[in-house]
Structures are given as structure tokens and as C-alpha cells.
């Protein structure tokens, strides 16, 4: 019997063929049925990288789907990291297949409301108002357009001044300075390069930069827009504030030079690494200190930023749930938002998030969790009555672009780097704002 010779080549061929069959066979099963897109409730989950909070959220969505009578294959939870949302959403909207329910930031929500992409969810907001103690009306207002609400607030991000109190105490200040003058005095004593007092975000990536600049501008009586949301940056108060920022950067040298190129995480990293004594940021820095059991945790206090002649201002922004109008089951999609925001259920998520967000229901801030750390007291105080970056006006599409284009910060940089006089920088920033407003046909 002439047996077939087994050579290295035949073994290799057999191996490659087997691998080919295995690989293609696994991903191309012989029979596969795809559920049509319109039969599903599509929920975009933006994970917090906090297993407890993420699981609470997922569990609640699945529970709701069961209650609503959806079959397993009628709920699709898609995980979309926060940084990917803009790109994925642009593509999804372009092809007419956005999610049914997703979390939105203020700027994206405002833009999409103007583009009429959302279903009104007024009944959900009205239900939230009925909760004991009501809901934070400052943030609810941003989701309103023509008497209808297109977003339901999901979490409040107060801009908290994270301050290394051990360093301020060492400089002779038992309390965090309540004015910018006192802050500069203390900061000069604290600053010993490479350790700087103020981790002021001044980068051009849309980030904490505008909040940092506005915290000084408000203190001196300036504002981004007026009550009618028209550009109002060019004022003596803003010029004074810009001059003060220039002094802090150039004359007193209490701000590290590298802040000009920081991205959104720049001040987080600097504070967590102990390279700065003060940074204005949502509580993500503080919750990272808790998570990492940082040696700076107990030395860190949370305060409103220092004030000035016009007062001391507290600022915050919010994230929202919105429902896209393509939702195949609008009532079920709206119901999901209402279900997630039912105060008791929502409270579980907020506590699970370990201080990442403050509750949109003021009454939930009385939960023992918010008194479990001394610094949380400051956080709750900031959230109470915090104004938005667009105070005393309201966010609109043009303002959204001004934020994403860093149209104001660009001129702050011109002042700091190219030595443009403060008054001229403010004037140029105002001009640019006006141009953007005109492009959108909005009154200036």
C-alpha cells in the first residue's frame, strides 16, 4: 500500500487551513439572523470606570426593559466611552441611526436641540419637579426650548476649588483665601518651582480653561454674555480680571508655564501629583484621590473659587439624558429616563459613583454619604446655587461653538504669550464672539 508522505509542508498547509476555517467559521456562523434596528431600544452607556456605579446603571436599564415588557433582544446596550461620543454620534446621525437614549453634555445637547434631533421629555422633568425638595432649577433651565424640555438633568458637576490646605496653612492661612488678592498673597508664599500654587487651566482644548478664567472674570464684575445671552465680555470688569490673570502668570509667576498646553486632564494630573496647591475642577480630582487613597486626600479641601469686588461665585455644569426622535418606542425610551431618575433609584447610582456627580435633587445631598468626608460639605455648598458658565444668560449654539473653539481662551493666550494688552485681548475676544453669533444669525 502506497501511503501518502506527510511532509512539513503538508502539515503547514493543514494547519493554515484549520486556522482559516476556525477563524472564519467562528465569526461567520452558518446561520445568523439579525434583529432589525427598529425593534430595539438602543441605550448608549458611557462608563465611569467605576464598576459599582456602572453595574448599578446597567442593572437599572435591564430592570426597566423587563418591566416595559421588552424581550432580551429588544434592548441593546452599547458602551461608548465619553471621548468617543461626539465622533460616533456624528456618524450615527449622518446615517440616521442615533441611539434612543444617551447622556449628553450641555454643549452637545444645545446643538442637537437646535437641530431638532430630540423628542421633548417635558413630562419627565415635571415628574422630577414633584420630588420632595424639587430639582436644581438652574440646570433644568438649560434643557428648555420653546416651553418644552429636551433633556433631563442626570448629574451635577460643581466646579470645586481643590486646595491643599496643608500648604495654605503653612503659608499662614488657616482658611482658604476668599478674595483673589489674598489668594495671590498666599500663592506667592506657596510657590517654589517646580511646585506652583495655581494649576490654572489655560489650554486650548475645550476643558476647564473657560471655567478657570470666568471664576476671575465674575469676581471683578465681568461676564461672558448678558441676560439676553448676547456677547458681553468686553467690560471694565473683564479687562481687570484679564490683567489679574496676566499678573498671576507673568509677574507673580504662581501659575506653571506648561498650563498653556494642558488638555482636559492637565490640572487633574498636576494636583494629583502634588505639583500645584490649587486647581478648579469638577469633583473628579477628589474622587480620584479617594480611589487612589492618595496621601493628599486628607489635606485637600473643596471650596468655591476666591471672590472679588463683585462677589464670590460658584459655578457648575450638568450632564443630561436625552431621547432621540428616531426612537422606535418613544414612550418606552422616555419611560427609561424617568425610571433612571426616580429619586430613590437615582440616589443609589449617585452614591455608587462615589462623589463623581452631585445629585440633581437637592434633597439627596442630605444622604449620609455627603457628610462622610469633611470636604464633601464644601462640595454640597458649591452645588447649592451654582451658576452656569453662561450666567446670566443661557447656552445657545453660538456659545457652544465659542466654548468648543476656545474662542476666549485663545485671546487669553495672546495676552500671556504675545504680550497683547489685556484691554485689546478682551476686545478681540468679544469681536470673535460677535462674529460667531452673526454666523448663527443670533442677536448681538
Amino acid at each position: 500500500m502506497a501511503g501518502r508522505q506527510v511532509t512539513r509542508r503538508t502539515v503547514l498547509k493543514a494547519g493554515v487551513s484549520a486556522a482559516a476555517v476556525a477563524a472564519t467559521g467562528t465569526i461567520f456562523p452558518p446561520r445568523r439572523s439579525f434583529a432589525a434596528r427598529t425593534q430595539k431600544l438602543v441605550f448608549w452607556m458611557q462608563p465611569l470606570f467605576n464598576k459599582e456605579a456602572d453595574e448599578i446603571m446597567l442593572g437599572q436599564v435591564r430592570d426597566y426593559a423587563k418591566l416595559a415588557g421588552l424581550k432580551d433582544n429588544e434592548l441593546e446596550i452599547q458602551t461608548v466611552p465619553g471621548g468617543e461620543v461626539a465622533k460616533k454620534l456624528a456618524a450615527a446621525l449622518e446615517v440616521g441611526a442615533p441611539p434612543d437614549v444617551t447622556r449628553m453634555n450641555e454643549e452637545d445637547m444645545t446643538r442637537l436641540i437646535a437641530q431638532k434631533q430630540f423628542l421633548p421629555i417635558t413630562e419627565v422633568v415635571e415628574q422630577m419637579r414633584k420630588a420632595p425638595g424639587g430639582v436644581n432649577e438652574n440646570i433644568v433651565a438649560l434643557a428648555e426650548e420653546g416651553g418644552k424640555y429636551y433633556g433631563a438633568p442626570f448629574g451635577l458637576n460643581p466646579q470645586a476649588g481643590h486646595a491643599r490646605m496643608d500648604l495654605f496653612e503653612k503659608a499662614g492661612y488657616s482658611d482658604f483665601p476668599d478674595t483673589w488678592e489674598k489668594f495671590i498673597e498666599a500663592a506667592q508664599k506657596i510657590t517654589q518651582p517646580p511646585m506652583y500654587a495655581y494649576g490654572m487651566a489655560l489650554g486650548l482644548t475645550p476643558s476647564d480653561s473657560l471655567a478657570d478664567v470666568m471664576s476671575v472674570v465674575w469676581a471683578y464684575g465681568g461676564a461672558l454674555v448678558d441676560k439676553e445671552s448676547r456677547p458681553a465680555l468686553n467690560s471694565p470688569g473683564t479687562v481687570k480680571a484679564f490683567q489679574l490673570i496676566d499678573d498671576m502668570f507673568t509677574k507673580h509667576k504662581i501659575i506653571p508655564r506648561g498650563t498653556l498646553s494642558w488638555d482636559n486632564s492637565g490640572n487633574n494630573k498636576a494636583f494629583q501629583a502634588g505639583q500645584v496647591a490649587y486647581a478648579l475642577n469638577p469633583p473628579s480630582i477628589y474622587s480620584s484621590l479617594i480611589k487612589d487613597n492618595s496621601p493628599f486626600l486628607d489635606k485637600t479641601g473643596l471650596f468655591p473659587p476666591p471672590g472679588g469686588p463683585a462677589g464670590r461665585f460658584k459655578n457648575g455644569y450638568a450632564d443630561y439624558w436625552s431621547v432621540f426622535k428616531q426612537a422606535p418606542y418613544p414612550e418606552i425610551a422616555k419611560g427609561l429616563v424617568g425610571y433612571l431618575l426616580e429619586p430613590k433609584r437615582y440616589g443609589q447610582f449617585i452614591v455608587g459613583a462615589q462623589g463623581r456627580y452631585l445629585p440633581v435633587y437637592p434633597s439627596l445631598a442630605k444622604d449620609p454619604f455627603w457628610s462622610s468626608r469633611p470636604a464633601f460639605k464644601g462640595l454640597v455648598q458649591i452645588a447649592d446655587g451654582a451658576i452656569t458658565t453662561y450666567w446670566p444668560g443661557k447656552l445657545n449654539q453660538a456659545l457652544g461653538e465659542i466654548v468648543t473653539q476656545s474662542a476666549v481662551i485663545k485671546w487669553v493666550q495672546k495676552m500671556l504669550v504675545d504680550r497683547m494688552p489685556a484691554a485689546e485681548a478682551v476686545g478681540k475676544a468679544q469681536e470673535e464672539m460677535v462674529q460667531i453669533y452673526k454666523r448663527y444669525g443670533q442677536p448681538v
Binding site: F34, W44, F49, E76, N268
Partner: protein
């Protein structure tokens, strides 16, 4: 005179060594930083000082990766998508390249040039039309859809690359095979492909690494955890302004291993394939 020449040679050698060492450091430093960061505790990563070596080495970041994230699912998906893309690319590219180099048919030159132009089309211009097609085919959020999209840029390039190799093989080999009774496909699979193994290895490696590392298409086309690939999982380690560097570096390091392994296993073929192409294409 001889002494001077040997002195120049020595100086050249030293200068060359210094330049090479600098290049080695330049190339390996990011890899080294990735590995050491993956072994550091968060406190150390965010510490005031910079440590070149972990002060308290820990595997905690790897444990987080395997227990708190669906990394293994991402890994499996990356492997399946990359293998399928590689196998299909090699198959289609071989058939295409052979047809273009050996057969005479109308539009052959146009097709050959078209392959290059297709490859030059930026990915960022194509992802929305491709998403549209995938939704139309009900292949959105599936690995099959992603493989289909990847073939769109691997097949043209691999075909173009193989054309160079196939052209270097004398047609007399084909003719001899056909005289002995081989069909066209028989010639391709029994004669041409076995003598172009280095070239096949090169295009396979190219397809594998491209689909293994690809981010844009995967991030737009896939959203379900069950089908996501490693590059689309990495952004999950960034939550707004917080970066989870430890698990991110652990994930990046582990995902760099398969292409490295493939390269080491097929190094001999790859180098031969690349140099052969360089001379004969």
C-alpha cells in the same frame, strides 16, 4: 596613511554605534515606559517624582484588566477579526494580483492603478459611507462588518504589493505547469504561491497588524461589548478628565504582544519578502 584610515573607520564605527544606540533608546523608551507604568501603583504614577523603575512593583493593573474590564472578550474579538481579515486578504489579493499580472483583459491597467488610488483614500472620509453600507447590510455592530470594512483597505494594498512579486516570477513557470495539466488556479496555488511565501508572509503581517491596531472604523462601527476590539476598549480608561494610566498601559502592552510574536516567528520570511520586493518590484 593606513593609521589615518583605520582611525577614520574607528570614528565612523563609534559615531554609527552612538547613532544606532540613540535610535534604539528612541524606539524602546516608549515600550519601556509602558511596561513600567503598567507595573506601578497609581500613587506612584501620579507621584511628584519620576521613577524609572516601579518602587513597589504590582500586578494590580493586570488584575484590574482581567477582572474588572472585558479585556479577554476584546482580545478574542481582535484576534478573530485580524485572523479573518488576514486570511481573506491573502486569498483575494493573491487571486487579484495573479489575474492582473498574468491575464489580458480590458481595463486591466485601470484596475491596477485603481488599486493604488483606492488605498490613498483617507480612512476618515470613508467611515460614514461605510457605516451606511453596514447598516444597510445589517452588519453594524458585528465582527463580520468590521472584517468587510478592513478588506476595503487591506485587499487593494496587498494586491498591489503581490503584483510586484508575481511580476518577478517568469511566466515560463506558469506555462510549464499548464502544459503538465494544471488549471490557472492550480498554477497559482501549486506553483506561484509556494515560491512567493516571503511575499505572502509580508502581506499577511501587514493585514494582521493593520486590522489588529485599527481604531477609527472599529470605534465607529462597534459599540456592543461582545464585539468590541482592543483599540476600542482602550478609550474606556479615560473618563472625561481622568486617565487610568495603569490599566491602560497594561492593556496596551498586552495588545502589543501578538504582532511582536508574529513578527518574531516569521522574521526570516518577512525580511526576505521585503527585500525581494524592493529589488524586483
Amino acid at each position: 596613511m593606513i593609521g589615518t584610515q583605520s582611525g577614520i573607520r574607528r570614528v565612523n564605527r563609534i559615531a554609527g554605534t552612538v547613532v544606532l544606540l540613540a535610535l534604539v533608546v528612541w524606539t524602546l523608551a516608549p515600550l519601556y515606559w509602558m511596561v513600567t507604568t503598567s507595573l506601578k501603583q497609581n500613587n506612584e504614577i501620579y507621584g511628584a517624582g519620576i521613577s524609572l523603575w516601579p518602587q513597589h512593583p504590582t500586578l494590580e493593573n493586570y488584575a484590574i484588566l482581567f477582572t474588572k474590564t472585558p479585556y479577554l472578550i476584546y482580545f478574542r474579538n481582535s484576534m478573530l477579526v485580524s485572523l479573518a481579515t488576514t486570511l481573506l486578504s491573502v486569498l483575494f489579493a493573491s487571486l487579484g494580483a495573479y489575474a492582473i499580472t498574468r491575464l489580458r483583459f480590458p481595463g486591466r491597467t485601470f484596475l491596477a492603478r485603481g488599486l493604488v488610488y483606492t488605498y490613498l483614500m483617507p480612512q476618515s472620509m470613508l467611515f460614514i459611507p461605510l457605516l451606511s453600507i453596514l447598516i444597510w447590510l445589517n452588519l453594524e455592530n458585528t465582527r463580520e462588518g468590521l472584517v468587510l470594512a478592513y478588506l476595503g483597505f487591506t485587499v487593494p494594498f496587498c494586491t498591489w504589493l503581490l503584483m510586484g512579486y508575481f511580476m518577478s516570477i517568469p511566466t515560463e513557470l506558469d506555462e510549464a505547469g499548464m502544459v503538465d495539466g494544471c488549471s490557472r488556479l492550480g498554477v497559482l496555488f501549486r506553483i506561484i504561491l509556494p515560491v512567493t511565501v516571503p511575499a505572502i508572509a509580508t502581506v499577511a503581517f501587514f493585514s494582521f497588524t493593520l486590522s489588529w491596531n485599527e481604531f477609527l472604523y472599529a470605534s465607529v462601527f462597534l459599540s456592543r461589548v461582545g464585539v468590541k476590539t482592543i483599540p476600542t476598549g482602550i478609550p474606556s480608561f479615560i473618563v472625561e478628565d481622568v486617565f487610568f494610566w495603569g490599566p491602560m498601559m497594561a492593556s496596551t502592552f498586552l495588545s502589543a504582544l501578538p504582532p511582536l510574536l508574529v513578527y518574531f516567528l516569521f522574521q526570516r520570511f518577512l525580511i526576505t519578502g521585503l527585500t525581494t520586493g524592493a529589488v524586483k518590484a
